[in-house]
């Protein structure tokens, strides 16, 4: 039943996007297109092995870097996204982190995917290369976020879990994602607008 609903909604979305495109109603075209594609991306990710694969990739990436900086962590083959961190402060022991949909980067990847794929006036090649770069940067920002959480837990104890996950980690990731959006969306837009203004001033 889920699949049927998704198929119907996807078809409606596609028809709406085509309608706005054919009739050159650009703002709704962009909003509906970008938001719909983001939802589609996330839906596909959550209903295929993409999400557990992404969870595993994030946990493994954090585990790999944590070993380099000497923070003991562990991952498990049949628990995708599970990352166990050794806590050495206060109550010594282990904290089990779970990379779920919030922290796998799937949501943010879907949003940036939708926004880039519908960005006006870009060639398909440019869009696809920016999408690839955006997904990679989002993955890296997520690794950094989780590393901050891991390090906070390791050095400041189990009581820091909520603060590190809710505030510190999110702040780090938020800054990273804003930076990605700036670099891939805002900066090229400002450059294009500046170039156009310069041309108009030169000809006037």
């Amino acid at each position: 039943m889920d699949i049927v609903i998704a198929a119907v909604l996807s078809t409606i979305w596609l028809l709406a996007v085509l309608f706005f495109r054919l009739n050159r109603i650009w703002l709704p075209y962009y909003i509906v297109g970008a938001v719909g594609l983001a939802f589609l991306f996330i839906y596909v990710g959550r209903n295929t092995p993409i999400e557990p694969a992404l969870q595993t990739a994030v946990a493994s990436g954090v585990h790999f870097v944590a070993q380099i900086v000497n923070i003991p962590t562990d991952t498990f083959d049949e628990a995708p996204g599970a990352l166990m961190v050794l806590v050495v402060s206060q109550d010594i022991g282990w904290t089990m982190l779970q990379v779920t949909v919030e922290s796998s980067g799937l949501l943010e990847s879907g949003v940036v995917f939708g926004m880039l794929m519908f960005y006006p006036a870009w060639s398909t090649r440019r869009r696809l290369s920016y999408v690839a770069l955006a997904l990679l940067l989002t993955y890296a920002a997520n690794i950094i976020r989780l590393l901050v959480i891991v390090a906070t837990l390791h050095f400041f104890g189990k009581d820091s879990l909520l603060i590190s996950h809710t505030i510190i980690g999110r702040a780090v990731f938020f800054i990273g994602v804003i930076g990605i959006y700036w670099f891939l969306l805002t900066r090229p837009t400002l450059s294009a607008v500046r170039a156009k203004l310069d041309r108009e001033m030169a000809t006037s």
């Binding site: 699949i3 998704a6 198929a7 996807s10 078809t11 979305w13 596609l14 996007v17 085509l18 495109r21 054919l22 050159r24 589609l40 991306f41 839906y43 596909v44 209903n47 295929t48 092995p49 557990p52 694969a53 969870q55 595993t56 498990f76 083959d77 049949e78 628990a79 995708p80 996204g81 599970a82 166990m84 806590v87 206060q90 109550d91 010594i92 022991g93 282990w94 904290t95 089990m96 982190l97 779970q98 779920t100 919030e102 398909t124 189990k158 879990l161 909520l162 996950h165 809710t166 999110r170």
Partner: protein, 417 residues
């Protein structure tokens, strides 16, 4: 500017591709693996309780000089089956109705055959036997060897029962020996792999432990217990299934000699464990809201008895009692592992709660336990959120709060400008 037909087609193709991707997960082929389902077995040990082994219709029918012996180096355990001298034999049969893919597995060794022959045979009616394996002086006097025979390939008329016979043919009365150990008759059935993506193998309380492979756990060293080796914990596992308000756990203990399980060094005696749970994540395990789950595990020969009772941390008023269930390994399977479930309702926790926990093995009263082993060691514990740390409601509140802040700031900016 009219939209080009090419870009429209491209958009349509993209939408269709996304749609097909979402469908494809339902049509993925999984590979098929074989799974052995026990029909009958005999570990070669002459136990005090009869009948020996499991799944057979009768005890061994020994003729001549045959039986169990502790001598002559059994393959595993303390004894094995021997057949010695001319016209000696051992016969046993099992019911196989409905079993379509029978495989006989066993360890065997032949010694000093000279002019005699040792035969391993199978029959569907107890009278006409088909030879599976023959030993003579050319291939005797070797070490124990593993043999596996696919009985379905022999085109035998096996319908309801199968007879296994081992005998010595010819030679002298006192020479020529055949030894058998670790005999298994299994039905090797096709079984789909777990779903291809990792982590989709849910936990099922069934006394089988393949679903725990690769799950989150903490190992514990052998020999660190302060008491009986039967209470030496080897590992503590924990897991959830999606959309279930249940914490699943598995406790594994070390073998009698601390070495990997080899079929003969398993545990035979009962074990008792407690899982302590700090439900409000404050490091104090003795508050009324905290819990202790007392697990009693009794391995029997071919099954187990497992009971789980949940109590508040600071009282003896029982919150729940699981009754007795077969959630552990039998003695034949090693007697090492036990799995159980703790309902969130009994624990007093909800989606998104963070808990701390540790497990102990103990003797004495569960309220005043003599702790034998602990995992993690040294007073440490494990902090775990059985679901997302943040939880959807807190996430939603944070999002609404963030939007409100941005809206407020943008209004103030408009006032300034």
């Amino acid at each position: 500017m009219r939209v080009s037909l090419a870009s429209t087609r491209w958009l349509l193709a993209l939408g269709l591709l996304a749609f097909m991707l979402s469908l494809s997960t339902y049509f993925m082929n999984s590979s098929v693996a074989k799974a052995d389902v026990d029909v009958a077995g005999d570990d070669g040990e002459e136990h005090e309780e009869a009948p020996t082994g499991f799944g057979w219709l009768e005890e061994w029918e020994f003729s001549g000089n045959a039986g169990y012996t502790d001598d002559d180096d059994p393959h595993a355990g303390e004894s094995h089956i021997f057949i010695r001298g001319r016209n000696s034999s051992a016969v046993r049969h099992a019911e196989i109705t409905g079993e379509s893919a029978l495989v006989l597995k066993l360890w065997a060794r032949a010694d000093s055959l000279r002019s005699s022959r040792a035969l391993l045979e199978v029959s569907g009616d107890g009278t006409r036997f088909t030879q599976l394996r023959r030993w003579d002086r050319r291939n005797d006097d070797g070490p124990y060897t593993f043999y596996e025979f696919d009985l379905t390939e022999l085109e035998l008329s096996l319908e309801n029962e199968v007879w296994i016979r081992a005998r010595i043919q010819g030679g002298s009365r006192n020479r020529g020996e055949l030894f058998l150990d670790e005999i298994e008759l299994v039905n090797s059935v096709d079984q789909p792999d777990p779903l291809p993506d990792p982590g989709s193998n849910p936990i099922t309380l069934d006394g089988l432990f393949g679903d725990w492979t690769g799950k989150a756990h903490l190992p514990d060293a052998a020999g660190d217990q302060s008491g009986s080796v039967r209470l030496d914990i080897a590992a503590f596992y924990w897991a959830n299934n999606i959309d279930e308000g249940i914490n699943y756990h598995m406790l594994e203990r070390h073998t009698r000699n601390g070495e990997p399980y080899n079929g003969s060094n398993g545990q035979r005696s009962w074990a008792r464990y407690i899982v302590y749970i700090d439900t409000n994540n404050n490091g104090n395990y003795e508050e009324s809201g905290d819990r202790r789950a007392v697990v009693t595990y009794v391995p029997r020969r071919n099954r187990s008895l497992v009971n789980v009772k949940i109590y508040p941390a600071n009282s003896f008023s029982k919150i729940s009692d699981s009754g007795w269930n077969d959630w552990g390994e039998s003695r034949n399977e090693g007697g090492l592992k036990v799995e159980f479930a703790l309902d969130w309702e009994d624990l007093g926790i909800e989606f998104g709660d963070v808990i701390r926990m540790y497990a102990v093995s103990f003797t004495g009263l569960s309220g005043f336990p003599n702790i034998v082993d602990r995992v993690p060691d040294g007073g440490a514990d494990i902090q775990w959120s059985p679901a997302s740390v943040l939880g959807p409601w807190l996430l939603g509140a944070a999002s609404v709060g963030g939007i409100a802040v941005i809206w407020f700031l943008s209004r103030r900016r408009k006032l300034w400008t």
